[in-house]
C-alpha cells in the first residue's frame, strides 16, 4: 500500500470536486491524516464528530440484528456531500476515510467508485 499521505493526495487529486479528506480511527476519533479543509472547516473536528455517526449506525444495525457491514455512508448537505467509507482491510478494522465534496462540481457515483478503489489500494 501507499502511505497515508499518498493515499490522501490521491483522493484530492483524482476525485472531482473533493475539497477535503481525512483518514480517521473511529474508536479514538483521531484523524491519522488530513488533507485539504480550510480555516472554517476543521477536518480534525469533523473527523471526531463523524465517529459518532459511524458508531450510531453500527449500534442501530446491532439492535436491528442486521448482519451486513457498512460499506459507506453518504450525507447530503445543500452545497456539499460528505462521504464516509469504512476500511475493511486486514488490520484496518476501525478506520474510515472521510471525504468532503463540493456538490456543484462532484459526480457522486464516480466519487463513490473512486473512493472504493482507493480504499482497496490502501490495504492497511
Amino acid at each position: 500500500m501507499a502511505n497515508t499521505e499518498t493515499t490522501l493526495k490521491e483522493c484530492l487529486a483524482s476525485i472531482e470536486g473533493a475539497t477535503g479528506v481525512a483518514l480517521v480511527d473511529y474508536t479514538s476519533g483521531m484523524a491519522l491524516g488530513t488533507l485539504g479543509g480550510s480555516k472554517t472547516f476543521d477536518l480534525n473536528v469533523a473527523a471526531a464528530g463523524n465517529t459518532d455517526v459511524v458508531r450510531a449506525k453500527m449500534r442501530t444495525m446491532e439492535h436491528l440484528g442486521l448482519k451486513g457491514g457498512i460499506e459507506d455512508i453518504l450525507i447530503t448537505l445543500t452545497d456539499q456531500y460528505h462521504l464516509i467509507r469504512l476500511i475493511t482491510g486486514r488490520g484496518g478494522n476501525g478506520l474510515f476515510l472521510y471525504l468532503v465534496l463540493d456538490a456543484k462540481r462532484a459526480n457522486l457515483a464516480m466519487a463513490r467508485h473512486q473512493l472504493k478503489k482507493i480504499e482497496e489500494d490502501l490495504e492497511v
Binding site: M1, A2, S28, G29, M30, A48, G94
Partner: protein
C-alpha cells in the same frame, strides 16, 4: 478635607484566557521546551518514554500500552523473529523487506505512538528526565509535532470523561456486572467484554487483543456506562486479630474473658 479622586490602583487579576492557554500547554512544560530547542534524545517520565528527534516525537513507549512490535505480530502482519531481526539491526527498512507495507507500518506506528504517549503524558508524581542522544531507529516512520501530540492527549482525556466520568475502570482489575436489561454490545466491545475475568486490567486486555490500550479504555468506559463492567472492589482490609500479633494482649483478653465468666 482632601478628596481623593484618583481611582484606586487596579488589583492584579489573572487573565482567564492566558491562564487557560497555560493550562493547555501544561501537559509537559519540559516537552514544550525541548520542542522549542529542537532537541534529540529520550524523555523518561513516570508512566512512559518519549523519543524525540529534532524536537518532534518519533516514538513512544509505556508499560501500559502494547508496543509497535505487538501490533505488527498480533495480527500476523509480521513474524516475531523478523521483528527482532529488524530491531537488532536498528534498520526500519528490514520491516518493509519482511512484507510490512509502508502504509501499514506508518499507521501502526502512529497508533502505538499516540497510545503510549497518552500514558507517558499522564500527570505524574515524579519529574521527567531527558537524555540527549541519537534519534530512535524508527524516527523517520511517523514523526509528530509536540503541539499536535499534546492537543490529541488532551482531546483523549476529554473524550473518556465525556463517555463515563469515573476513571476507576482504567487501572483496576475488572469484573463483569449483570444489569437487569443488558444492552446489545457491538462486536469490538464484545471482544473486550469477553476478556473481563476479575483479574485482567485494561492494559492486559489490550495486550491480549493486540489493540491500543486507549481504545480499550474507551470500550471499557462505554461498558461501564452501560453497567456491564465494573472495577473490582479493593479487597477488604483483613482485620488481623491483635491476639495473634501480641501475646500479652491475648493473655489479657483470656484473663478478662475468665473474669467475666466468673
Amino acid at each position: 478635607m482632601t478628596v481623593v479622586d484618583s481611582p484606586p490602583p487596579r488589583l492584579p487579576v489573572r487573565d482567564r484566557a492566558t491562564a487557560h492557554q497555560r493550562a493547555g500547554a501544561g501537559v509537559s512544560p519540559m516537552l514544550t521546551r525541548l520542542a522549542e530547542e529542537r532537541a534529540t534524545g529520550v524523555l523518561d517520565r513516570e508512566h512512559g518514554t518519549l523519543h524525540l528527534a529534532e524536537g518532534r516525537v518519533v516514538h513512544a513507549e509505556s508499560p501500559l500500552a502494547p508496543g509497535l512490535d505487538e501490533f505488527l505480530t498480533a495480527h500476523g502482519t509480521l513474524a516475531a523473529e523478523d521483528w527482532r531481526d529488524a530491531e537488532d539491526s536498528g534498520d526500519g527498512g528490514r520491516l518493509l523487506r519482511h512484507g510490512v507495507t509502508p502504509g501499514a507500518l506508518e499507521l501502526a506506528q502512529a497508533s502505538a505512538l499516540y497510545d503510549a504517549a497518552y500514558f507517558a503524558l499522564a500527570p505524574s508524581s515524579t519529574p521527567g528526565r531527558f537524555r540527549y542522544g541519537t534519534a530512535h531507529w524508527l524516527a523517520s516512520v511517523h514523526p509528530v509535532p509536540v503541539a499536535a501530540l499534546e492537543r490529541e492527549t488532551l482531546r483523549r482525556r476529554a473524550l473518556l470523561r465525556r463517555i463515563w466520568p469515573d476513571p476507576a475502570t482504567d487501572g483496576a482489575p475488572l469484573i463483569r456486572a449483570a444489569p437487569v436489561a443488558a444492552p446489545a454490545v457491538p462486536p469490538r466491545q464484545a471482544a473486550v467484554l469477553e476478556q473481563v475475568d476479575g483479574v485482567r486490567r485494561a492494559a492486559d486486555i489490550a495486550r491480549e487483543l493486540g489493540r491500543p490500550t486507549f481504545h480499550t479504555l474507551v470500550h471499557l468506559r462505554r461498558l461501564a456506562a452501560a453497567g456491564l463492567v465494573s472495577p473490582q472492589p479493593p479487597p477488604p482490609v483483613l482485620d488481623v486479630p491483635p491476639e495473634a500479633a501480641d501475646p500479652y494482649v491475648a493473655l489479657l483478653k483470656r484473663v478478662r474473658d475468665a473474669l467475666e465468666a466468673l
